[in-house]
Symmetry: none
Subunit: 210 residues, 4 copies
């Protein structure tokens, strides 16, 4: 993939095309969108796209990968400074998470990935390597530790992790992608607070909390 990096350097064309691609693909869906539409959106012509991307599918994968990377880069790193109030920390972290996850960039890319998951195998790799492993395992470790210290209830760490992290994703999907926000509008701050309260209190042993 990065073997073509030089090819794409000459200008900022690739980025320009990938942005347009995400916009168009997300609007129409990968299959329904045409290369002409992408070219139009990028302000160039169809042929030019093929100077930078081998095929529609490659363009799709690269565009998704780039967009995803942008999002992941924005996510706050999970760190605990000793001495801080863990519940307060959790809430603050939650808000930051949600801010990123409930953005348009995420709403654009999620359905694209889900839709083409079976047809474009690379997406699976991306999901596994970029999303699953970069977050789930870290958090699972934390919970494991908490359990060992007697602070956390007896739960399956991976499951609790998925529940915790996935909750943010869940609201991004329902509210933004599926448009539930039109029927049941929700304040991101409230969402974060609720997730934090429920998951935090749900995970921590009662005695361990003030």
């Amino acid at each position: 993939m990065s073997s073509k990096a030089w090819k794409r350097q000459p200008e900022k064309r690739p980025a320009q095309i990938m942005e347009a691609a995400i916009r168009v693909f997300s609007e129409k869906g990968f299959r329904a969108a045409t290369m002409d539409e992408v070219a139009d959106a990028a302000g160039i012509t169809k042929g030019t796209i093929y100077l930078y991307f081998e095929s529609k599918t490659e363009l799709f994968v690269e565009a998704v990968r780039a967009q995803l990377q942008e999002v992941l880069d924005l996510l706050p790193s999970i760190q605990y400074e000793p001495g801080a109030d863990p519940e307060k920390l959790t809430k603050e972290l939650g808000v930051k998470f949600l801010d990123v996850l409930m953005s348009e960039k995420v709403a654009q890319v999620i359905p694209l990935i889900i839709a083409e998951f079976k047809n474009i195998p690379v997406l699976k790799q991306i999901y596994f390597s970029e999303i699953l492993s970069k977050s789930d395992f870290q958090v699972a470790n934390l919970i494991e530790m908490g359990k060992a210290l007697g602070l956390v209830r007896d739960v399956e760490p991976m499951i609790a992790t998925r529940l915790l992290l996935g909750s943010f994703f869940l609201f991004a999907l329902t509210q933004e992608v599926l448009g539930a926000k039109e029927v049941t509008p929700m304040n991101p701050g409230d969402i974060a607070a609720t997730i934090a309260t429920v998951c935090f209190r749900g995970l921590m042993k009662t005695e361990a909390l003030p």
Copy 2:
């Protein structure tokens, strides 16, 4: 060859076609799947499909609607018998929920809906009327009541509801649709237990529990 081997089956045809359609659509995606493939899968010819469905899109919508209905019909109704242990009840209910949600039928239909959500407006209606309104509002009421009785923490009922119900959906999506079960296999019983524990303890006030 088998050109004259057909039988008249006007009664069964629509169901037969819709089943094949879901299978093929879910395998290839709505756009990528061809009517020929659907016909093959149904053991009939292309033309026959058009005797029962006006267009590929109509077939898609009807097939999705039917499949969704089947799933919804399987979901256990949420009832509490007075006197029962609420935590135990929650767990049992959770297992039943997960059994249905982590089934192939759901894994098939979810990506289809998400993928075509923007292109086929009816899907939005289906989501709103069949899914959102049939579950979320009921549970939100319960939580509201619990809050009024001082049993439930101070959370936003709609958000807590989404978190509670959506959690099941979340695992269905990640494990079954996105295939995370290959990397992080999870036992449905454990998932249900974890959700129940975390959400139950996370929602209920500590003093209210034994």
Copy 3:
């Protein structure tokens, strides 16, 4: 053709079907019309048509032939009773001709014949045998005679005939088929009178008339 006469006797189905066919074909055109539409118009089902007609084309030809025959049967025979005023006779005959030619039956069948003339060779035979030879040659003879008697100007008989007879057809085509009557409405009586005047005076030597 009449070899199938027995087949069609059992009922009046063939006539019923042919009438419907002309209606539908004339409305939509031969190619654009479907057998389903014809069947609907006839109040029966598609399959039944094939009990009486081998194919769509055969139905078309037979229906056209029948309709044409009906029209031709209505045309007045051209006869002169000795002693009658020839100009008056011409006008009377002209009106009768026009009444038939400017009817719906003719307006229906003309475009059908013209449209499919090249694709369905039998139509050429029908035109030659049913239309050309049954009228043109008779009238041409008359004119030839008139010329020999010194009553008629020096014109080519076949051409004059075509001009005379064709004039009626011309108005049928332009007014009824092409819809010119909406822009330039014309009274059939006036048309007949004009044709009669012009052609009569144009053909007859001046000295021969009062």
Copy 4:
């Protein structure tokens, strides 16, 4: 094979395609002709046609319109130079008219127009605006004037006009389109002469002529 033998010819393509279209449509009929056949006839591929025409129907209409325009441009303008012998003038004009009307271009386009008259509404507009109004009304005016001057018999001007102009069309239709020329061959010069004689003498008052 010749897959890579194409040349860019954006300027000539539309005309090239329309010519091929008229040829194929006229040979097979609009509905029966396929876009593949048109493409073949034009020496290009199907897809290319759609770069220049939105649909088969649009191609048809434009091709007919162009062909019709070509024909109309060839028709001599009707002018009388004072002092000229009107009967001689009429005949000369008639020959020129017939030369154009009895050409292949006309024979090709007439059945197409008539056949699709009901299905393609634009054809009606073309007929009314390009044919009816561009000729009939002018000539009708002349006749009206002649009547006022006492030179022309008492006829309905619009009808006489249609008769006069339509006669040429009539022969074009019967001889060329319907192929009557195979049975009753006619010399265009004779046709023109006959029409001229009959219509001229038939319209003009006897006393007004030498």
